[in-house]
Amino acid sequence: MATHTASLSQPQYSTGGLSAWLTTVDHKMIGILYLLGAGFFLLVGGLEALLIRTQLIRPENTFLVGETYNQVLTMHGTTMVFLVIMPMLAGMGNYIVPLMLGARDMAFPRLNAFGVWMFLLGGIFLNLSFILGGAPAAGWFSYTPLSNTPFSPGTGIDFWIFGINMFGISSISASVNFVVTILNMRAPGLTLNRLPIFVWTTLTTAFLLLFALPSIAIATILLYLDRNLGMNFYRASGGGDPLIWQHLFWFFGHPEVYVMILPAMGIVSEILPVFSRKPLFGYTAVAYSSVAIGFLGFTVWAHHMFAVGLPPLINAAFAFSSMLIAIPTAIKIFNWTATLWGGNIQLRPPLLYAVGFIALFIIGGLTGIYLAVVPIDYQITDTYFVVGHLHYVLFGGSLIAIFGGIHYWFPKMTGRMMDERLGHWQFWLLFLGALLAFIPMLIVGVEGMPRRVYTYGAGLGWDIYNLLSTLGAYMIAVSVLVFLYNFFFSLFRGKPAGDDPWDGHTLEWATTSPPAVYNFEVVPVVKSRRPVWDMKYSSDHHPRRLDGVQPEAAHNLQDVHIHLPPPSWWPLVLSVGIMIMAFGFVFNWIIILVGLVVFLWGVSGWIQQDVNAPQAPAGHGG
């Protein structure tokens, strides 16, 4: 931590030790918890992917079959969506967005901690299903009647239902926090039209989650009631309708796709200008097209259901709205390309990932247009073409951008650089691995291989494609190993980064690396879309230098009162209470009462905690 932080008379909370992590309300520590948790689940979900691909390496394989295969397949999808991509992006948002806003924390620090505990405990809860009676096995969208009794007996689906709802609670609380933080906590001068694009996309994503998640909450609760209380929502024999599930699920499920891609686009929009040494081309168009994608995202859900037999007019309307989304998406692609055009390109790891994102995401976007055309969709729905398409969007898109974001912000979070040579190696393994793994899926899908089958016959012409696909998956695994080595090596041995290693232009580069617990000693004043470039490159240093405290200002700072919220156990208690209740809903009603008691204890402590109490001097810190 920089030397001048000690000159502040502010109380410091301890940042080390287990209890500091368990009680933290600091957005940066919470962001790191999100990222580490999601990183762990990335290894779990990746391992599941390798199991699946190993089974499919040759026809008639018997490595992983039947129900077990279905469990691994369901958990791979659920894990990657809810436990990897969403929390990775939420973690980066948590760490970076308040810094970009020039704020000292999120609007609701304890709610923020509650969100991360719901995610971590929810992830543990869902994965415990493997040893507590079997994991869910109905695919990541758990269509009824397959997911209903009697077709899915056992507790797997119930674990899935409450796991999803725990992630939902996590995302709703994080989204409320993001919306209020972004609208209310901006530094002076940081108008909406000067917000970094990553903040714009995080804001849009927060609204998407707020309006999409209740739909899957309802869908899953109704499924639980059907399964456990004998109700009839999805049961045709009792007058219900299995199709309701598909509508409720995809009303969530399609906006969810944009939840996973928009912040990734935001990361790319931050990286490209910095490494092209010029401003983002068409800022306004990029920002507003993010919002447009968010709006349109709510009007397209039935394109997942073309084959179920909706009236042709409905299908046509949804095909039309789906294709409309190509417009704002293309606007972004053109603006990114134009940002690179004529720039002074610095080919360092973050830029590689950003450009790799554009390349692979274009494949994902174009294959999406095929699926939006109803007759083509009839032909290729539920084939490996869909699997290839969604992996180009979520792997080639979101995950590559996430790796880019990690390379870009690692110096800010740790104060050390990641090794760039290893970064290049990892990128090429990842990029070529993604082509090798998923292009054959597109081909074999067109040739008719259905998704979710655990084996296929020899002589159908699918062997070579599946072999290539599996080799690609192994290649991606090697790339992740390179990343892990780079990560841990750099964490301890990396070159010191300094405050601003990339010569960035957003406010996170105006503070120390890692930032002090209060982020900024002096709240920055923003005069353009690139405040830190203004400070570095314009003759006008008014009103303050941000990268160091001027002598006369340091004197005044002694009296500045920076209030930081005290640590709190209550978010964790509350989350544990909800987790116990979730176990109760799966296993036994008595356990619900136990969880309820813990939960109410947490609420009672939470509302009585005096968050403005004077703070005891910290043992260590600063």
């Binding site: 704020a103 309802i218 209380l229 309701i244």
Partner: protein
């Protein structure tokens, strides 16, 4: 624990409010508005499911046979009056009349409880007539929609009782009224949802 009114003013917005902006909506209020926006979709999804499924042909009691207007109409009146009581409570607090505020909040909580009791009576009558959640799809959608609303009423009542407990320890004042105001926002929202439920479930049978 020090719960002097001054020390707990702005219990949440202290954390990072870089700069106070003039005329800006309070952080906590904006948080609750945002959350209620999400709740609209929660009940919206339930109501759409209800409208889609409640008249599906099936055996067992139908909406037209089972539902009567008497108790729901009384309940509508109860909730609307309770919203007025909530407004009076907030007004009393803004006049620094904490005692008056506690009284009005208790009236609101009492009306909420009365609503729940009458809802329970209604459920009991239904079950006597053979309408249970599992009997057919109408039973499922009816109990689930009204049950989730009743759960929200229950949470509101508990929230009010907790607020009364904190108020009696001097937590709120004319300068620190936002926590009561956001509780009111939630309560009015729950009332509004009931108006929608009343129309959808009871008036359009």
């Amino acid at each position: 624990m020090a719960t002097g009114t001054s020390s707990v003013t702005d219990t949440t917005s202290h954390a990072a409010a870089a700069v106070e902006h003039e005329g800006m909506i309070d952080t906590r209020k904006m948080g609750v508005w945002t959350f209620l926006g999400s709740e609209v979709i929660f009940f919206g999804a339930l109501i759409v499911t209800y409208l889609t499924l409640h008249n599906r042909p099936t055996s067992g009691p139908t909406a037209h046979e089972s539902l009567s207007l008497l108790i729901p109409t009384i309940n509508t009146m109860i909730l609307l009056i309770s919203s007025v009581a909530m407004v009076m409570g907030l007004a009393a607090l803004r006049d620094d009349n904490v005692k008056g505020m506690i009284r009005w909040i208790l009236v609101t909580a009492g009306l909420g409880t009365l609503f729940l009791i009458l809802k329970g009576v209604e459920y009991y009558e239904h079950s006597q007539e053979g309408l249970t959640p599992a009997v057919n799809v109408f039973g499922s959608v009816y109990y689930t929609l009204t049950g989730f609303h009743a759960l929200h009423v229950l949470i509101g009542v508990l929230w009010m009782l907790a607020a009364v407990g904190l108020a009696s320890r001097g937590r709120f004042s004319a300068r620190n009224y936002i926590p009561i105001e956001i509780m009111g926002l939630y309560w009015h929202f729950v009332d509004l949802v009931w108006v929608a439920v009343f129309m959808v479930v009871y008036l359009i049978r």
